[in-house]
């Protein structure tokens, strides 16, 4: 069984993996992402109409559209993790016993947490460097770059938090199984 990246709607997982479920932070991040999506539609459609109908341009669409995508990408990661929306190849997993499956999932989550932690460190470092250097975008908006860059660090940190909650849920499930 596999789950592909090219997907929409609810994937049909055959292997059940206990999930911590979305925290209030994930719910807030999801709401924010929904607003970003609506903002993207409004701004980009307005740009297309302004250019083709009125022969003018908003001048900020490419820049702000990019920032919105960055924020959407990184803030939606923890949402996807908490909803179990990341897909996996389940060929091996479906042949494991529940306990072995859970142990392997915890190992995977620990590796993911380590990698995400290192990436978070680098993303926060980038935003802080931009802030210290007072970097601004070379555009009419002259956006301070640390602002959109910080959404990457925050999103990755939220993903780490979601992974920790996921690990805790799986450990609890394992202990519950042992007790049973």
């Amino acid at each position: 069984m596999s789950q592909s990246a090219d997907v929409g709607g609810d994937p049909a997982h055959r292997v059940e993996v206990p999930s911590a479920g979305p925290s209030s932070v994930d719910v807030a991040a999801e709401a924010l992402c929904c607003l970003f999506l609506l903002a993207m539609i409004a701004m980009i459609a307005a740009e297309a109409i302004a250019r083709n109908v009125f022969g003018t341009s908003l001048q900020i669409t490419d820049e702000v559209g990019g920032y919105l995508l960055v924020a959407l990408t990184f803030l939606s990661m923890s949402v996807a993790e908490s909803h179990g929306a990341f897909h996996r190849v389940e060929l091996v997993q479906m042949r494991l016993s529940p306990a072995a499956r859970m142990i392997s999932q915890i190992m995977f989550d620990l590796m993911a947490l380590a990698a995400s932690g290192l990436v978070t460190w680098q993303l926060v470092r980038l935003a802080l460097n931009s802030w210290r250097a007072e970097d601004v975008a070379p555009t009419p908006l002259a956006t301070p770059l640390w602002l959109p860059q910080m959404s990457m660090g925050i999103g990755m940190a939220l993903l780490c938090f979601a992974l920790m909650r996921s690990i805790a849920a799986k450990v609890r499930y394992l202990r519950g199984g042992a007790a049973r």
Binding site: M1, A5, C34, L69, R88, Q93, A115, L123
Partner: protein, 435 residues
């Protein structure tokens, strides 16, 4: 370890983690970070921040969430049901009956959705109960839906093409246009096969001799028209150069909401659900794209990409031998690696070699998408097989067997594209310059 050995090691780690069941974005990100650490220690990670910012701060990639949302709005507002109902009347005269509707429905839904899975799931949910009720061949029913769904990434818009275009800095508008003719050709080939099968073996499709009244045909046209307007609006505006693919996606979302309001069941709850689903799907897809950039950065860090290019060029393969090698590589990978993973892991390595062989990146984009389509219906991990299997009560083996003829048809199209590249390249050469 030499850089080449390190790369092989990392690729093995990637495949091992993927097959063992690690979630796909992490199966790409973890080996990338590991590679940077083994190669240069913590100092190797220092470029990750800038790479992350430089890769994801992209207006072109913004088209991905917007096209996903457009399809979700139409799916949530039950418009896929209407298009299927309309098409079932309009193509009822063809041998194969509702099986033809599966392919035509998938082709139409593919033109508003960038995803094979959304296409297969949207049409499959509507079609399968009806096909089972009317005693159509389960094998052909499931096979036609799984294979028809793959049209989702060939007929524009296509998420796979947006990702490929971003990675190779190729015009997404031209890639979209390059997918149109092969997509239509593949649709026709699928429909011809179903018609021939139904004529040779009538038991696969019950013969319904129903005469539709003019009113029923008009109602069917009204069911399909909204989709035609939406497809014409998005694809037509890209072709005419009025808008970029990203702008077409945004305008398409607005149009989808208007159409859903008047033709479907659209309200705030539907919009909210479509937005939430889009965010969760994007969390997965965009993370894969991001992880792929990290992977690409990792392999370029030590100049391994250049070494691989030099090695492959040094083999002095003829163009035909090179294509043969690519054919074997992608056929095998299609069985092991999921769709976007296949693009993001191979393209950064192979793209420079393609340029050395004078391969047109637009044409190769279409070929790559066709390979991905085949991968999506190839056991053991073909996603569309499982999507269809999760919707109906039949056996997985029936879905797999049902897709085999469609798989062979895809190979035929692949051969045609190699022999006659203009099938893909004719339309892009006529695209008006975009804004």
């Amino acid at each position: 370890m030499t850089p080449g050995v390190e790369l092989v090691f990392i690729l093995v780690v990637f495949l091992a983690l993927l097959c063992a069941g690690m979630t796909i974005p992490f199966a790409i990100l973890v080996p990338s970070v590991l590679y940077l650490l083994t190669h240069a220690g913590l100092a190797g990670l220092k470029g990750l921040g800038l790479v992350s910012w430089g890769s994801m701060d992209s207006f072109t990639l913004s088209a991905i969430p917007l096209f996903i949302l457009m399809a979700e709005i139409l799916q949530e507002s039950k418009l896929s049901l209407r298009v299927y109902r309309g098409l079932s009347t309009l193509v009822s005269w063809m041998p194969g009956g509702l099986l033809q509707t599966n392919i035509a429905g998938c082709a139409i839904f593919a033109a508003i959705s960038g995803s094979s899975v959304v296409t297969a799931a949207s049409i499959g949910r509507v079609a399968l109960p009806e096909l089972q009720r009317r005693n159509y061949s389960p094998r052909l029913s499931a096979g036609s839906l799984a294979a028809g769904g793959t049209l989702g990434i060939l007929i524009p818009p296509s998420i796979a093409m947006i990702v490929y275009g971003t990675f190779t800095e190729t015009s997404v508008a031209k890639l979209f246009m390059a997918g149109v003719m092969p997509g239509l050709l593949l649709t026709s080939m699928f429909m011809c096969y179903i018609a021939c099968h139904a004529l040779v073996q009538p038991s696969v499709s019950p013969i319904v001799k129903k005469k539709y009244s003019a009113g029923e045909i008009l109602a069917a046209v009204v069911d399909v028209i909204p989709f035609v307007v939406l497809i014409g609006g998005t694809i037509g505006s890209i072709y005419s150069g009025l808008v970029t693919p990203t702008e077409a996606a945004a305008v398409g979302c607005v149009l989808a909401m208007i159409i859903a309001r008047f033709w479907g069941e659209f309200n705030f709850a539907v919009l909210k659900h479509a937005l939430q689903t889009t965010v969760r799907v994007c969390g997965n897809i965009l993370f894969i794209v991001y992880a792929a950039y990290a992977f690409s950065y990792a392999i370029s860090y030590a100049g391994v990409g250049e070494q691989i290019t030099q090695f492959l060029v040094g083999l002095k393969l003829s163009r035909l031998e090179f294509f043969g090698a690519l054919f074997v590589l992608y056929t095998v990978l299609g069985c092991l690696v999921e769709s976007l993973g296949m693009i993001v892991v191979t393209v950064p390595l192979l793209y420079p070699v393609l340029l050395q062989y004078g391969v047109d990146p637009i044409w190769f984009g279409v070929i790559l998408v066709l390979f991905i389509e085949m991968g999506q219906i190839s056991p053991p991990i073909g996603i569309n097989l499982f999507v269809i299997q999760s919707i109906w009560n039949g056996k997985l083996s029936d879905v797999v067997t049902g897709t085999i003829p469609f798989h062979l048809i895809m190979f035929v199209l692949l051969g045609l594209l190699v022999l006659f590249p203009d099938i893909a390249m004719w339309l892009p050469s006529r695209v008006a310059a975009g804004p």
